[in-house]
């Protein structure tokens, strides 16, 4: 098979796998949050929420930095 097509196939598989991992991560976190809510462990809920907010902020900050420095 042509190496361009092979590279494209590998790239698409990689993208879809990354999407699956992301969705599985979101599903697992939602499960943890639900379990913490049911067992009234509000401290755990707070930690999970703070971690999510920190991760999203870091992700967005990285994007803003890349744009503002003209890297993307």
């Amino acid at each position: 098979m042509d190496d361009l097509v092979l590279a494209g196939a590998a790239g698409i598989i990689g993208l879809f796998m990354a999407a699956v991992v992301l969705l599985y991560g979101a599903y697992s976190i939602a499960g943890l949050m639900y379990a913490a809510l049911v067992s009234r462990e509000y401290g755990v809920m707070l930690i999970i929420t703070a971690t999510i907010l920190a991760a999203v902020s870091f992700y967005m900050a990285a994007g803003i930095w890349l744009r503002s420095t003209d890297r993307i």
Binding site: D2, L4, V5, G8, M60, L66, D70, I72
Partner: protein, 364 residues
Amino acid sequence: MAHVLISPLNWGLGHATRDIPIIKKLLDHHHEVTIAACGNALAVLENEFPECRFITFPDYPVPYSASRFFLPKFVAFFPLMLKAISDERKNLGAILAKNQYDLIISDNRLGVFSSTIPSVFITHQLHYHLPMIFWPVELLAVAMNGYLHGKYLKVIVPDNPPGPASLAGKLSRPGTDETKKRAYFSGILTSTRRLDIAQDLDYLVMISGPEPQRTRLEEILLDQIRELEGTSVILLGSPRNRDKQKQSRNCQVMAYASTQEKEELMNRAKCIICRSGYTSLMEIAELGKQHALFIPTPGQTEQEYLSEYYEKKGWFHSKSQYQLDLPEDIRLAHEPRYTGFPAVPHTRENVDRLYEQVLAEFLE
């Protein structure tokens, strides 16, 4: 005399029309040119160059979306695109087996290259612009482009070199060493020429691009154009709707205009209202127009980026079709803060230089 295979992408007519000056130049130097394309791109070039050989060469289905959400559909489209590239590679093998070629010119067709025949690639997008939330994908696309460009000896970019006069901004900025080594900035390439005629038309509205957004813009503009004072011509870019042609005192609606008619109208216009597609922008740069209003196709990130870039540079005013207020936006487009594009070398000069500095090496 050498034999050149040239293959433009058929996503709109922009790729085919910007190749016209290159094909003319090759024919002027008595080279044999075979054009491999499909759809309207093939039809336009057949009409323009009856002396060339033509091969029907299918490309990729267009991933345009009916909604604003172009990107998710585009992502889901990748596997189909890969299948089309795989078929393209096989078809190219069959074309190359039947004839001897000295040079392959691919205009944005990713699978049109050979490891044994010198191949060059034409693109104005060395860097794809995506919404910021997808920044990792944008970074990956830079690396992917580097890999793709590595398949070619040269990458011809129809823009001025990166810097203050770059018309495509970050889109034409090379992101990897592979791309940097190969990039040749030819300057603008367009088949539209500057004519020595009077500018006696106040507004030329060119409605183009993929459906259904073309029709949506048509509805919006036909509704608002009545509020404008002065003469106007609206090109619907829709040859099938000839019944929509009409003329009132100040406004003429044309379903379709030939290449020559469009060229004449563009030359006559004092102000042009159109999508911010790169082909239209090169035409406006070639004609040295000072006043234009750009309306990006919703969801097309390239057009949205260019609109924003021109606003920031103070070259032209842009507005989303969803917020368009034609009389007010036309007034803004004429404000002195918008200067038009900086003076750039014209196509004729650019294509002469491109031939001498890049193409001649493979052909003579």
